[in-house]
Amino acid sequence: MSKRNPLYDFKWCPGCGDFGVKVAIEQALARRTAERSESIEKTVIVAGIGCSGNLVHLQEGPQPFGIHGIHGRTLPVAYGIKTGRPDLNVLVVSGDGDFLSIGAEHIGPQARRNLDVTVVVMDNGIYGLTKGQASPTTNVDVVTSTTRYGKLDEKMNPYLFYLGSGVGYVSSQLSTRVKDLSTAIGDAMDYPGFAVVHVQSPCTTYNDTYALLKGDEKQGIEPLAYPIPDSHDSGDLLAAINLVRGERIPIGQIYRRDSESVPSHERLAKAKEQSGVTQVSVKELMDGMLIS
């Protein structure tokens, strides 16, 4: 159900972190279109499969284009859109299962291409839509329907994974801090290259990590999330790696490649120009095959 379309038959659970992400994206897009006097139809939201992907149907206000595809393949879809239409603003919304499990193989190629798209990953540490199975980011020892002895596999560190894959822009955010998140998403969309905004977006039904993230003084729980200190040099890859190596989750700009970021479509345009190669018509190509 959505305000725009009462017949739409999907809902997030009350308290789902994804509500905050949705609002942050709406705000960031509203700001972007106003600042650039760009029509909202210039934006495409590419959604994966999972609770997160339904965000594309829940967007309120002026509507961007959307494509809600198949599980794990948001980045390939975005690759086809952006390479064919560099003029479009492409925003990917995905989750920890869609992006970091089935879709993980696509991160490296886009990072190396420096595809100019922004990814918002809603990490709830669980497969929610299929009702509670362990994901790569589920904490160790957590009992789920597919981890009856508690999760035995190591937890994935998505930040290290991004940095190791060559992602040039990594931001870590909380779904509860909507204003910061909206700013981060806007900044990521402005970044000329592949940008990931990784959001801790808890699942209230199967993996409620709000208390863990925020901490609870009464229960003596140290907050898992903490703001990145001003002293962190986000242009320094080694500093970024050191920052994310620990158990806790730093919130803020983890990495922003220091050197100039040239997105893939600009690299290609430049290479074409420098090569001096021009399009030869079908007729000319066939003339080259003439038997004379």
């Binding site: 959604a47 961007p64 284009f65 959307g66 809600h68 696509h106 095959m289």
Partner: protein, 563 residues
């Protein structure tokens, strides 16, 4: 005088056997002959049994040729495994440094490598062999020399020396054949051509058709035998607004062309069976979300890795139903070189017209073949593009019970292209009546693909032959021979396999028996035809090689008599 010369160069991969056949074909085409090549090689960079075959004729050519007039062998294994294909009275030319053939009454031994080295032109051993073949088969040596001159005139300082070296090598081969005193019947003079002809390969024809149809995003992943098309596109689709990319997998390739098609581009990928298997889910997305795109499947032997470099026609069922769920993907399968060009255009047009995925079914033997064809009449190209909505439908992209105008991102009419079942705006829904309405809509869209053409001859016969794809040539040659013998069999053929032209299907249904020659075990098209109410029987072969005309002729004759 002979009308035909079939030469096979057999040896190991890396010995230039495929190149030898191609050089021979190019030279003959230059001399005015019709030519057609066929090659088979293992899936490795160097080594392993390989051969290349050139058929040269004063008449138009339908097939690579059943039997060889000349077999050129680089080693004992090549001789042993290819001799069965040499016709009675045919000649062997062999590398006498590698092995000996004791009975030299029909064999010419040449130490071509040593001779080439001694002449200071070690790369010319293949040309020495060609010289011997040409002399023995009565091919004009003057024409070959003219070809060498043209082929190696590349505007470099070294041109003259290379040309002279190769002509010397050619003459050395000619001399060897004369010394041996063996010769075949002389080849008829080449025909006079009044229209310009081109020498083209199958993958080039498919790629040029795609370019002519306006494909502007091509994203593929290397796989035999489809890599050649990806490479051709990378090299030639280079304009400012064109995009060619190498994906990280076939899964990425299909999803990316879904993205490109959604974004308003004419998108295409090329792959082979294993890749098509991986593309199943993505093709379902294109069908479900109604996104135009074309997947070229160059069939090879399967399943799994199968026979990566051999030819087969065993992907028809998968092409029609590449993924789970209710879908029927349009399939076009060209049967020869000229069709390969036009089929690409038809496939893009169909995808744009009905707004969904189309499979272009090629096959190894067709994609790798080189053949001379008349220059296609490019003025006959009709390139279609989807009807763009321009916001006329607002956001109701999926409204109506057939093809509806397509909203292109960046313009008006924002909606969500959705692979989940959806309502008119593209929002997910699970309501039973919506799934019924939308499923009906998706199948009804196929109705606009009603312009498929077909060939029909001797239609009064109650038994007919209907080949598909690359088996067309062998089947046609077999049918021609049977027809000349007075065997009463009808001929039907179409490259539009799904949906079949309605009038063709009606005709086939009226037949007592329809024989379908196809290169697979299951009889895939025959089975499909039976499901449509046609009494179809397959004639199958699954050797990794094309049909021999003589085999088909005998089998069709046997089936007709059995009725």
């Amino acid at each position: 005088m002979s009308k035909n010369l079939v030469v096979r160069f057999a040896g190991e991969g890396g010995q230039g056997v495929v190149g030898g056949a191609e050089l021979m074909a190019q030279a003959a085409a230059q001399g005015g002959y019709h030519v057609l090549t066929f090659s088979t090689f293992p899936s490795q960079i160097k080594g392993g049994p390989a051969w290349g075959q050139a058929r040269i004729s004063s008449d138009p050519i339908l097939t690579p040729g059943d039997y060889l007039d000349v077999l050129v062998c680089q080693n004992q294994y090549a001789y042993d495994t290819n001799l069965a294909d040499l016709r009675e009275g045919g000649l062997v030319v062999y590398n006498s440094e590698e092995f000996e053939i004791p009975d030299n009454s029909r064999a010419i031994g040449i130490a071509a490598d040593r001779m080439a080295r001694e002449a200071g032109n070690p790369l010319a051993s293949t040309i020495i062999m060609i010289g011997a073949v040409a002399a023995a088969a009565g091919v004009s040596i003057d024409a070959l020399e003219a070809f060498i001159e043209k082929r190696w005139t590349r505007g470099r300082a070294s041109d003259a020396a290379i040309i002279q070296g190769n002509i010397t090598a050619l003459r050395m081969g000619v001399e060897e054949a004369r010394k041996a005193g063996l010769a075949l019947e002389e080849l008829e003079s080449p025909p006079i051509h009044d229209i310009p002809r081109i020498l083209i390969r199958g993958f080039e024809a498919s790629a040029l058709g795609a370019m002519a149809a306006g494909v502007d995003s091509f994203i593929g992943y290397p796989i035999s035998p489809a890599t050649t098309m990806l490479v051709y596109m990378e090299q030639n689709l280079v304009g400012q607004d064109k995009f060619v990319g190498q994906a990280s997998s076939e899964i990425e390739a299909i999803a990316s062309i879904v993205g490109a098609g959604f974004a308003g581009r004419k998108a295409m990928t090329s792959t082979a069976g294993p890749g098509l298997s991986l593309m199943g889910e993505g093709l379902g997305l294109a069908w479900m979300a109604e996104i135009p795109l074309v997947v070229v499947d160059v069939q090879r032997g399967g399943p799994a890795t199968g026979l990566p470099t051999k030819t087969e026609q065993s992907d028809f069922i998968m092409a029609m139903n590449p993924g789970h769920g209710d879908m029927s993907v349009p399939v076009i399968a060209p049967g020869n070189m000229e069709e390969a060009f036009w089929a690409s255009i038809a496939a893009v047009n169909w995808s744009e017209r009905y707004q969904g995925p189309v499979i272009l079914l090629s096959e190894a033997s067709l994609a790798e073949r080189a053949q001379d064809i008349p220059m296609p009449d490019l003025s006959k190209i009709k390139s279609e593009s989807r009807t763009v909505s321009g916001g006329a439908m607002q956001n109701r992209r999926y409204a109506g019970d057939g093809v509806s105008p397509f909203p292109v991102p960046g313009g008006a009419g924002a909606y969500v292209a959705n692979g989940s079942e959806h309502d008119e705006q593209g929002d997910t829904t699970h309501l039973p009546d919506v799934h019924v309405t939308m499923t009906n809509r998706r199948f009804r869209k196929l109705d606009v693909l009603d312009d498929g053409t077909y060939e029909a001859e001797n239609t009064s016969a109650d038994i007919a032959v209907l080949p598909w794809g690359g088996s067309k040539g062998s089947a046609r040659a077999a049918w021609d021979a049977l027809h000349a013998d007075g065997v009463n069999v009808g001929w039907y053929y179409t490259m539009y396999l799904n949906p079949l032209p309605a009038a063709l299907l009606a005709e086939l249904k009226s037949k007592k028996l329809v024989l379908v020659p196809e290169l697979n075990y299951m009889g895939q098209l025959a089975g499909h035809l039976r499901s449509l109410g046609v009494n179809a029987e397959a004639i199958t072969q699954y050797t990794g090689l094309p049909f021999k005309v003589s085999d088909l002729q005998a089998e069709i004759s046997r089936r007709v008599q059995g009725q």
